[in-house]
Amino acid sequence: MDEMNRRQFVKIGAGLGAATGTPLVFAEEEAKSESKDMIYRELGDTKLKVSAVSLGTYGFSNSGLLERALDKGINFICTAAEYQNGVAEESIGKVAKKRRKDMVIMTGWSCRPNSTKQELIASLDASLKRLSTDYVDIVKTHNLDKAALLDNEAQFEAFEEAKKTGKVGFLGLSNHNADIIDVLQAVLKKKKFHVLQCKFNFMEYEKQMKIFDEAEKLGIGIVAFKVRAGKRENEIKELENKGLQVRQAAIRWALNDKRIASVCMGFTNFDQIDEYREAVMKKLSRSDEEALRLYAQAVDRSYCRNCSTCEAYCPNQVAVAEIMRYSMYFKYYKMEKEAMRLYSALPPDRAADPCAGCGGFCEQGCPYGRPVRTGLLEAREMLT
């Protein structure tokens, strides 16, 4: 595949400005933020002022980390009753006991097709108890990944009742599906939600633009996650030593769209608080855009999607997708022994031995133009 040019990069997604007509706002290369405060944005018509980076709390149990995040101006906390069966909410609650007024809390209930209003209210009550508060700013239907779930009116009835009793202010939803458009279109038609939490990144954003246009008209606040598009910067040679810039650039890219009120990130250590805070305090620069372009180009070219399309073209029945996966485990997940063990467990007639003398028919079959044969030869060398 030819070197990706700027037009192709824009087509993939990192040139938000050119694709939408909204000009990208670049900082001067040497610009530094003079403000020491966090950036806050209004969350749609809720008028809640939320920090541009928010705390995602699955796996969370460190109350000290939350306190430090609050001290640094990160006030928006995203959690759910499901997270470690309530352990995350309890950890948040330890801090909320003394600092509730510093926090905008969004928690989630799980609405299944047969969930009743009473069950959802009971779930919310249990969350409030764990969170050591008598109200949350937003309750969201967590993981709303099928449009059919919107048919369960119990979530709306539960919200209305909870709102009347002062337990909650607004209703949101989170969507994690790989293909979110059908669900989000159905959500917009419903006109019952105030907050939408979904993935949004520089590699896969085009389909969401119209959704966000409509959400904006309806006054729905948008919280983005999965902004890092796979977190594969460590796999890319051209981005060696630029991991931090890529991580920060991905956040800035998402926030460059003013409809995004906040980018939700997971935190496990204190350094990340400063890293993400720094990310939002600066605008997207041209060198940020270049880093994202390099990322998009490399990932597009090298990323094996494990679709196995190429295997149909292989005359030797090599287990290409499997071997590529083991190669990834070895190189990027640091699972060297396991990767070698897995490779050695392959039936001998499916290993990459014939690839050295083969014409590389697999590459003809790859819908992404990957150098498949080269990858197989490298894998064989590495895993044997």
Binding site: G56, Y58, G59, S61, N62, S63, G64, L65, E67, R68, Y83, Q84, N85, G86, V87, E90, K94, R112, P113, N114, E119, N143, H176, A178, D179, F225, K226, G266, T268, N269, F270, D271, Y303, R305, N306, C307, S308, T309, E311, A312, Y313, A319, A321, E322, R325, M328, Y329, Y333, E338, L342, A345, L346, R350, G365, P367
Partner: protein, 313 residues
């Protein structure tokens, strides 16, 4: 061959990348998929859909924001299946079996999901059921199951399926050895946790175990940061001291050649720490209400536990 290739292409090409798909079998996949209960594990029940398998790079597609937690503990593969009652389709359960690679990883994920006050049962090594949710662990496997309805039928299905699963998991009901580094006296049962990275929010404390205790009517936490060797423990301890060195109220102590520090951290409360061979040990008292003698006693018990373990080794 060409028409076959085209057929395969058209069947496969639009499957989302990394999503569950009918890929060629592998040792990794079959190891965990074989543990799923059979479709008819209960009379009248069957698979609602075809079981699915998720590799590490595809885990996000199933558990999304939860993925980093599992990956940090060494996640290898997930087997997922839904079962439904043919008599009443509203009775259905979802079963997830996470292969965490080893005993430490299995325990680690499980410990992050458990609360000491649960009513535990012998589902595998340990587990509990809370309404329509059932969590269990054995060896490298963490099991999470959820019923769509919270009734006696799905409760029965959850119990039967977990017993089917644990029967298929080889090995005994061992706990990881690293828990022996935590003192036993006054420990709150089932409060032990294993944290795989960034313990207390510090990058230099990579892997740690902790547990809660009852001492003098307060509940401090004892922690043991597990380092590969004494030199690395020394380095981690030095990093910790350097990080807290600017804080007011820091006290340093040395007794019989063993150094320790104590301070009131603005975020953690009262914290003391010291190096003990290949570990950094410490006590956290969030309200800073543990007496100095209580704190020293806990530290000493921790040292003895580690030394006793190392003598046996």
């Amino acid at each position: 061959m060409r028409s076959c290739a085209f057929l395969v292409f058209s069947m496969i090409v639009f499957v989302p990348a990394g999503y569950s798909q009918d890929i060629s079998s592998s040792a990794e996949k079959s190891k965990v998929m074989d543990i799923l209960p059979a479709s008819d594990f209960m009379p009248g029940w069957n698979f609602e859909d075809k079981p699915e398998f998720y590799q590490p790079d595809a885990l996000y597609e199933h558990v999304d924001g939860e993925a980093p937690l599992y990956l940090s503990y060494g996640f290898r593969g997930l087997a997922y299946a839904r079962y439904a009652d043919s008599q009443d389709a509203e009775n259905s359960i979802a079963v997830e079996i996470f292969d965490m690679g080893d005993l430490e990883g299995g325990f680690g994920v499980y410990s992050s999901h458990r609360h000491p006050t649960e009513r535990f049962a012998l589902y595998g090594t340990q587990g509990y059921r809370s309404g329509a949710l059932l969590i269990a662990w054995k060896g490298p496997y963490f099991i999470s199951m959820l019923g769509d309805e919270d009734n006696a039928i799905t409760a029965d299905a959850l119990e039967r399926s977990v017993r089917e699963i644990v029967k298929k998991i080889p090995g005994d009901d061992a706990y990881p050895d690293f828990l022996k580094r935590l003192p036993l006296k006054n420990r709150i049962p089932n409060s032990e946790k294993f944290i795989a990275k960034d313990y207390l929010g510090w990058k230099f404390f990579r892997r740690a175990v902790e547990a809660k205790y009852v001492v003098e009517s307060v509940t401090p936490t004892v922690f043991v940061v597990l380092c590969p060797d004494a030199d690395q423990a020394k380095g981690a301890y030095a990093e910790f001291v350097k990080t807290i060195s600017g804080q007011a109220g820091l006290k340093e102590d040395e007794q019989e050649g063993v150094k320790s520090v104590w301070l009131k951290d603005p975020y953690l409360g009262g914290v003391s720490a010291s190096q003990e061979n290949d570990c950094v040990i410490g006590v956290i008292s969030p309200q800073d209400d543990l007496s100095e003698s209580g704190r020293k006693e806990l530290m000493e018990q921790c040292r003895l536990a580690i030394r006793s373990l190392q003598k046996k080794e």
